[in-house]
Amino acid sequence: MSKHLSYDRYQRQLILKGFGVTAQDKLRNGRVLVIGAGGLGCPILQYLVAAGVGYIGIADHDRVSLSNLHRQILFDTNDIGQFKVDVAKKKLQALNPDVEIQIWNEQWQNHHCPTHFPQYDIVVDATDNFASRYMINDAAVLLGKPLVFGAVSQYEGQVAVFNSEKTDGKRSVNYRDLFPEPPKDGEVLNCSEAGVLGVLPGVIGSMQAMEVIKLLTGLGRPLVDKLWNYNGLTQEVFILNLNPRSNRPIDQPQTPEEFMNTRYEELCGVVSERIKEIDFDEWKQNHLTHLLVDIRESYEQPRLNKLAESMQLNFKEIPLSELEVKMENLQNQSIVFVCQAGRRSLQAASMLMEKKSASSVCSLKGGVNGLVALKLI
């Protein structure tokens, strides 16, 4: 592309005081890895590509679905069923052909980090679960990469820059300083369980893109040692000043070997070998006579009463928050737990396994969202 056209493309930022050709060149030489091409990833990618960041990596194993479209604005109705990274690359290249884009349509796992982090200047966490967030954070700390973190919860969001090199050569705080141990999955609801207003990840993702551009160009003061909190309902912003913790958490890997051997999904309670996850077909074939326990809170929709009635199921509703006290009623039974997305039901199953004897405990994979996708309710 000719210099003249590139100048036109970036003209509005080139004329900014303190930006100019120097900052534009820094963006062009910048290499940014964005993990997650969902609600946060879409605006991050759009702004970084539009701004002319030279090399961008995108990782996401999901395909576009209809329920993504209210917030993942890089995708449209015709893209449903395609890998997000394929659609993202196509649209982003059309937006700015100057940018080189590398994609992975597989789940980001431990081994990806030491292989690919060294090729990038900045890693961006745009994932939607704690197992990935802790894995990416720990890898960024071990491999010395600045990490631009963003996360949402219903109407609120958080942004921070972790593990960035400071003027004294030390690294800024990381996610483990804030929350040393991962919450068990299900302890904190994710978007598919708690809901999210579409524009919120747009705000938070845009903030992350802003931080990436500041880090690459050296402009302004990035959110180093700070956690920026935003509430969309009140438009209130709350900035917390962060400090390093003196003790490293026990499960934070200290060496690359320890990192490779850390099973993040288990740390976050996602997978336990003792608990069986069953899909709908298996449930229908082998578990229909077992007690089905809906552990969602009473406000979560759609309810399962009608389905249970029409299928003549042995059915109970016990919100996860009350499971501990109502566990007595579940002794010596064969049980299938169900929740909205299949995560809290795993937690319920492990709670029951720990506290009481049950003849068999299963968790329905995909939860009520899965039943809705199969058009069963």
Binding site: G36, G38, G39, L40, G41, D125, A126, T127, D128, N129, F130, R133, G150, A151, V152, S153, Q154, E156, G157, Q158, D177, L178, F179, E181, P183, E187, V188, L189, N190, C191, A194, V196, P201, L227, N229, N231, T234, F238, I239, L240, N241, L242, N243, R245, S246, S321
Partner: protein
């Protein structure tokens, strides 16, 4: 008196974003009082900050302080 502010899922438990609270010696005592009033607060993890500054162990609370309770967010 002190001001308490809650974020994320903690507001589902407290049913409010902020509370005015009697003076209390330190953050551990405050958390204990909160968990008595809101038992579900003991079921989720959160970080505590005094006057916008994160703390990692119990610290004394001066009257008039603003104490923030911040849980981790996972959504994306």
């Amino acid at each position: 008196m002190i001001e308490l502010v809650f974020f994320g899922q903690l507001t589902d438990i407290t049913q409010t974003q902020s509370l005015v609270w009697e003076d209390v010696a330190d953050t551990d005592t405050l958390i204990q009082q909160l968990q008595e009033k809101f038992p579900k607060m003991s079921t989720i993890k959160f970080m505590v900050a005094i006057n916008n500054k994160m703390i990692s162990e119990s610290e004394p609370i001066v009257s008039g302080s603003k104490i923030a309770f911040m849980p981790p967010f996972s959504g994306g």
